[in-house]
């Protein structure tokens, strides 16, 4: 039973509306930098656009999806109305206020610092304050998820926590701790300078603090998609989850290993010594483990569904799968993109190979494929699954849904494969336009044109997605069956302490963060020579 439908819909709709705007900016950027036109050469407008596109797609959109889905899971899995409904709305409004405070100066060109805001470049303070408000709003959600689980556990001593809620709270805690790095950077380094209280800033320390957030945020983006893999898809295709405890272990491992690895973003940086780079590189490899476990569990669960539907043979069962079901299709397409993206990720992860592609267009191609592709397609899928339960109306246009998912997949491949290739040719990232007449740049021009075509396909797909959801709101009323999550083949009767709560994993997460980040941070804090004067963008305040 879902009690706070309006709250959940408000989160999802704000997320998807912003997504709809930001994707247009993305396609505009790709067009502007392509050789397809020669008339608009305004770098200033371009960087306003990238700042907005990155901020919305990287921070606001996934956070709102995770929050809306989190509130949904809390009510649906625990079977209790959300505790702290008022606080939830307060967090929501904080995000709205924060987004407005951030986007207005960006649109005015006062904050073209991009979503990574690397100091000593400093923009107008309102952008940073806005980002802080978005983060604080999401921390309200983190706290509420913990509280709701606590309330439920008190009322159900010894009972196994539903997997969906276990994973959801893991994601919430991961985000709560991950965001601390950027929050420290914003509050103690950037804002004092932006507001005029300080006159120098340690750019190296800022980058280290930001890397604390920048890597694990990726796993926060991914959590809703993984929760859908485990707890929605098997049920939707008429199967069972292969293993409940392996699912819990995967989520727990994400919590532990997502954090202490962010320095892999700084392999090419001068402010971190080789020792910690190697340590983070090794831990980075370990974070592949939960994904590899997930691939097994989900494939096995899908096979169970196929065999329950009469599938036979070593591989013949694949034919018995309900391919007409949007969840099945989304899962398959997501896995293909995850496979390609994961292979690319292995390259980024080793610092020897990383040096050929660091900060090239390879990197932007890579995260569009993994995040925009494999993860966002599951955001679509979970919206399709939840919507009838939120609106009480039928989701009819299955054909449209099919087209939408296929177009997203095709568009992503056409967008990102050439994008990776341009990176291998050495095309640097974050440039408004390129001189394609320079020697060796012609091939890069061709690949950007292909990416522009892929982007156009994605825009069509996004429009279809929004159409399906909007049309649902005026469709015939239905009385959907009560929402359920996937059931495991062997449902847990009782669980060991470690897998029925997050205490142990939280402790490990914090301890590993301290061992892997404590020394570099303290060392840089004690390096006053690293402090440099700020460089203001958009005019000194």
């Amino acid at each position: 039973m879902i009690y706070n439908k309006r709250l959940i819909l408000a989160h999802f709709w704000l997320a998807f509306a912003l997504f709809g705007v930001a994707i247009l900016l993305g396609e505009w950027q790709m067009f502007i930098r392509s050789p397809l036109h020669g008339w608009l050469r305004n770098a200033d407008l371009y960087y306003r656009s990238v700042t907005a596109h990155g901020t919305v797609m990287g921070y606001v959109f996934p956070t709102l999806v995770a929050m809306g889905f989190g509130y949904f899971i809390s009510e649906a899995a625990l079977g209790q109305p959300l505790v702290g409904r008022r606080w939830a709305w307060a967090g929501y409004y904080m995000i709205i206020i924060g987004s407005v405070a951030a986007v207005v100066p960006v649109a005015m060109g006062l904050d073209s610092v991009l979503y990574t805001f690397y100091p000593p470049m400093i923009g107008n303070a309102f952008y940073y304050i806005g980002v802080v408000l978005v983060v604080v709003g999401s921390w309200v959600w983190v706290a509420l998820m913990g509280i709701n689980l606590y309330v439920w556990k008190r009322a159900h001593p010894g009972a196994p926590v539903p997997l969906a809620m276990f994973a959801n709270v893991a994601g919430a805690y991961l985000w709560g701790w991950t965001a601390v790095g950027a929050a420290l950077e914003l509050l103690f380094q950037i804002l004092p300078v932006a507001l005029g209280f300080a006159t120098t800033i340690n750019a190296g320390l800022s980058r280290v603090l930001f890397s604390w957030t920048l890597h694990a945020i990726v796993y926060f983006w991914l959590m809703p998609a993984y929760i859908a893999f485990y707890t929605i898809v098997p049920r939707a295709i008429g199967g069972r989850l292969y293993s409940d405890s392996m699912a819990r272990i995967s989520f727990a491992l994400f919590l532990v290993f997502a954090m202490p690895i962010g320095i892999h973003h700084l392999f090419a940086d001068p402010e971190v010594g080789a020792g910690f780079k190697v340590v983070h590189s090794i831990f980075t490899a370990m974070v592949a483990v939960p994904t590899l476990l997930t691939v097994f569990t989900i494939c096995a669960s899908v096979e169970i569904a196929a065999r329950l539907r009469g599938g036979k043979g070593l591989f013949g069962w694949v034919k018995a799968l309900p391919w007409a079901n949007p969840q099945m299709l989304a899962l398959a397409l997501s896995f293909v993109m995850l496979g390609f993206g994961g292979a690319g990720g292995l390259i980024n992860m080793s610092y020897q190979l990383d040096s050929t592609i660091h900060n090239t267009q390879w990197v932007t191609g890579h995260f569009h494929l993994i995040f925009g592709g494999a993860i966002v397609i599951m955001y679509f899928a979970l919206a399709y699954d939840l919507w009838p339960h939120l609106t009480g109306r039928a989701l009819l246009n299955l054909r449209l849904v099919h087209w939408q998912l296929w177009l997203w997949f095709i568009g992503m491949i056409v967008l990102t494969f050439p994008w990776h290739y341009a990176g291998l040719l050495g095309m640097p990232r974050r440039m408004a336009f390129y001189d394609y007449t320079a020697p060796g740049m012609f091939a890069e021009g061709v690949s950007v044109v292909m990416s522009t075509i892929g982007g156009a396909i994605l825009v069509v797909s996004a429009a279809l997605f929004l159409t399906v959801l909007i049309r649902n709101h005026s469709a015939a009323r239905v009385d959907p069956e009560p929402f359920t999550f996937s059931r495991a083949v062997h449902e847990p009767v009782s669980l060991p302490w470690a897998l029925n709560g997050l205490g142990l994993w939280l402790g490990l997460m914090i301890a590993l963060t301290i061992t892997n980040y404590g020394y570099p941070i303290v060392q840089l804090m004690m390096t006053p020579e690293g402090r440099v004067p700020p460089v203001f963008v958009g005019g000194k305040p």
């Binding site: 770098a43 001068p270 402010e271 020792g275 169970i304 974050r430």
Partner: protein, 189 residues
């Protein structure tokens, strides 16, 4: 892959667990192998990331010390290796054209006078961040003569897309003629 569930459900659970554990161990082994490869290649070819953290005051770069203008570009060391010193600033590198000999050890020392920049040299695996307050040092060797582009690859302001330099790799004897008695070389575009 999962087999059909046998009649006794507890049996099935044991089978399922066993298959699952086997997969988990294989995957952990696979990851361990990858880590071992990274460590091995790192030690074997000494392809380690730069290690020492060196600081420098960006406000006085042009006044004194290693990065004054007359000391930038390529310099021949007593051991025959070449050191290239570069400063990045919004929105250019100094010098804009860098000439180095092929088949010779080359050390780059790079810093920034203002914001964070980056640099890569196309067609090579030279790739570094360039941060104000810190010096990036890395060693390399160019095998073949040729022309390369050297763009800035981190957003450094609205002129970022114009921040490109050139690297010319020439034969060692041609380089020796270029440097002459000053033991320094630069090039024109």
């Amino acid at each position: 892959m999962a087999r059909a569930v046998p009649a006794d459900p507890h049996d099935g659970e044991a089978v399922a667990k066993r298959i699952e554990n086997r997969w988990a161990l294989t995957m952990v082994g696979l990851v361990a192998l990858l880590v071992a490869m990274v460590i091995f290649t790192g030690l074997h070819w000494a392809t380690m990331p730069p290690s020492r953290v060196e600081t420098i005051n960006p406000s006085t770069l042009h006044v004194s010390g290693e990065f004054v203008e007359s000391n930038l570009g390529s310099a021949v060391e007593t051991d025959g290796s070449v050191t290239v010193r570069i400063v990045g600033q919004q929105y250019s590198f100094t010098p804009q054209c860098i000439v180095v000999p092929s088949r010779t050890p080359v050390t780059f020392r790079v810093t920034s006078a203002d914001v964070i920049h980056g640099m890569l040299i196309t067609g090579t695996n030279i790739n570094s961040m360039v941060s104000p307050g810190y010096i990036s040092t890395f060693k390399t060797r160019f095998e073949k003569p040729g022309d390369h582009l050297m763009p800035c690859h981190e957003f450094c302001g609205t002129g970022h897309e114009g921040m490109w330099a050139n690297v010319k790799v020439v034969e060692p004897d041609a380089f020796a003629r270029l440097v002459g008695p000053t033991r320094r070389a630069s090039c024109d575009l």
